[in-house]
Symmetry: C2
Subunit: 430 residues, 2 copies
């Protein structure tokens, strides 16, 4: 029953994830063989620095010639854990041309060139799997494209970046400011020396593009995703959030419009109610909330990054594409048949929490309320606090188009009685 | 590219789940066609009572002859949502013999005869999928057998019965007793007229058997699962739990022994810390916590029952087995190669929370402590409360074998100074 010719796997990259993939493949060979239904063998590991000491990694598998490795016609599966656009893209394409299926953890590449890569995989009759590209070990790609294949997903709302969740959680629990919390994240290894990709939301935006594409069966590119980082979130914002019964999270939000004819994808900090399951996601953990017509509300929670969790997702995909190779079949490819347009941020319908510094004199509230009314934005609650001739006004709106909310804020800034807009934050998850 | 001969699906049963499956299949035909890569058609619905009014169900598809339906050689997929052992088992077996893949939501049947059914499916080269059998719409079967296929699962800890979670949540939040909370669950439709299968843990035990089998790649039958219902949980237990910083949940727990050489599966009420993610699972929701070597801790949360959520899981499986039919392949079958023995409850290592009514006189604590020591059970904390010559003693143990804990309790009952054992509850999730 079991075939005896081993499936051959080539690994591109041997950092924290690649080393762990190597460790599992070389120490759990019997389990993998049973689960695939055929023996599996790691036949080569392409690295840039061959002299680096890599504990547990067989030296005889190391090569610096990644191109030669992916061109080997006996390689069945190429695992790409290099990251970045090039040389990853060329190597994956070459692997397809030589008949190999590919398992990738490369969110940036998938978000940018997913369509072309899927097309190339299909053309060559091989698989492209990438569970590890979104939220580490948390199964999301497979549940979205397989478990929910008979359902209609309307919203994906998630914490998909562990670094920023660690920082925001720290600010929330300790009252620390952004810089202080970032320093702690860096010291503990949760933030990189250059934290830009995380704190400015680029990493989360790539994941949002991938999730939206799969969830809505359409193409969503990185450029389609509205992105706002979380570097300007302050301790005062957390205090405001608490007064609302909320906390602040950096959210990736993919939504189908109410009329079903378009979708949106965005990443920005937002207040969410403390009663929302995402509010209690602590530290560097990730969690994704999915709303579907028939399934209702589902949540998936777990470690969103790290060598071992990411390797777990990579290994799950290796087993799947190896099984497909044994069956001489391929798994589900890109599904983009709905061809729904991606609307801009202005068309997103959401709520705003706005803190204004205003003059403490009669008529200010009336002026402010008029500006909201003129832009068709309905006010939910207003809270006034006076202190020494100055006052603050906290306005929470009802749901309205983001463009109208944004225009309202612009008009407020022009009022003489408004000394400044202290903060603007969207309110989600209600 | 797309094949034109439609895949034919036959449905067995048309209750709440079957009606919803029918509705989705007949109204979302285009989406299903795109996602499968071939047209799909519902060709027959077997019911017992053909005269019952079923809104939106095409009358011309209704038949009372289920056997003739599954014998049709043109049927590609049989969907079984009848429940129970017979006639479901015979119909599924006949479907396999006639070349159809089967999608089932039947936890009782899978827990009892999963091995034989898997063998029959494999023999006939068809699929047996059953995501809907465990925790409704929450993807669990697929993540366990595919996403985590390259990892080693050590524990599955879950709330897999919505009825009992509703009752326990009610008791926790309102201080209600069991009967009162059950009455409310019945009135709201969360509990059936005869709630035995839910409150005595039979439903959860079937799910535990299925989950343990998949998680540990071994066979776990319903008889292997230790089962204790939750009808004896009292308001006093909740008060004790609160003092411990815990709440009480009916848990399904599947564990690999520390030495890796055996597994256990059990269902019983247990205290879990309020800080554990499962503690905040409210109402009739389900959630399952999975611990794996590389992935770490994952949690899956969502509606565990109901027509629509269950239909979502069934439809996901229909799409998957249809895709396999188009590819002329089959998905992963039973994986039971580890052949790990299933240990009895006595070998489970856990903690006890024990409330004793004792005489309020010197030396009682020493007597009680001696009994624990004689059985090799180490005490974590003791709390004494005296009142009018009577006293209560609350003992929380360290981890010990369940057999030793159980023997300790038996010996305590024999002490003259112990007037009664008010409650015994295991403590989990720490």
């Amino acid at each position: 029953m079991m075939r005896t010719r081993p499936l051959k796997v080539a690994l591109l990259g041997c950092g924290v994830v690649g080393s762990e993939v190597t460790r599992i493949m070389t120490t759990h060979t019997d389990d993998l063989t049973q689960r695939i239904g055929a023996p599996v063998e790691l036949v080569g590991i392409a690295v840039r620095r061959p002299d680096r000491v890599r504990e547990g990694v067989p030296a005889e598998l190391i090569t610096t010639d990644a191109t030669a490795l992916v061109k080997r016609d006996d390689v069945d599966v190429v695992v790409e854990v290099i990251g970045g656009i090039e040389p990853a893209r060329s190597l994956i394409t070459t692997a397809f041309e030589h008949g190999a299926s590919v398992v990738s953890a490369n969110k940036a590449l998938l978000a940018q060139d997913g369509a072309a890569l899927h097309a190339a995989a299909e053309q060559h009759g091989v698989d492209l799997y990438y569970e590890a590209a979104v939220a580490g070990a948390i199964p999301l790609v497979r549940p979205l494209r397989e478990s929910l294949a008979g359902d209609k997903v309307n919203r994906v709302l998630g914490i998909v970046n562990g670094t920023t969740n660690f920082i925001l959680d720290k600010m929330d629990s300790s009252g620390a400011g952004y810089s202080e919390a970032l320093d702690e994240a860096t010291a503990l290894g949760y933030a990189e020396a250059d934290p830009t990709a995380d704190v400015e939301g680029f990493d989360a935006a790539a994941k949002a593009a991938i999730l939206a594409g799969i969830a809505f069966h359409t193409r969503v590119r990185l450029d389609d995703v509205y992105r706002e980082g979380m570097t300007e979130v302050t301790a005062a914002d957390f205090a405001s959030a608490k007064q609302m019964g909320c906390t602040i999270k950096l959210l990736a939000i993919c939504e189908r419009a109410a009329d079903g004819r378009s979708v949106t994808a965005r990443v920005h900090p937002a207040m969410i109610p403390l009663t929302h399951p995402l509010a209690s996601v602590r530290g560097a953990y990730n969690a994704v909330f999915i709303e579907a017509d028939a399934a209702g509300q589902l949540m998936f929670y777990g470690p969103g990054a790290g060598g071992s969790p990411t390797a777990s997702a990579v290994l799950g995909d290796i087993v799947a594409v190896c099984r497909n190779k044994v069956a001489e079949a391929t798994g589900p490819g890109e599904s983009a048949y709905t061809r729904l347009p991606v609307s801009t941020m202005g068309e997103v319908v959401t709520r705003y929490h706005i803190s204004l510094d205003v003059a403490d004199k009669p008529g200010v509230l009336a002026q402010v309320a008029t500006v909201f009314a003129e832009h068709g934005v309905s006010i939910d609650t207003v809270r006034q606090q006076g202190k020494d001739g100055e006052a603050s006004l906290v306005v929470v709106t009802h749901r309205a188009a983001d463009a109208a909310l944004s225009a309202t804020v612009d008009a407020l800034r022009k009022l003489d009685t408004v000394r400044g807009v202290a903060s603007i934050m969207r309110v989600e998850g209600e």
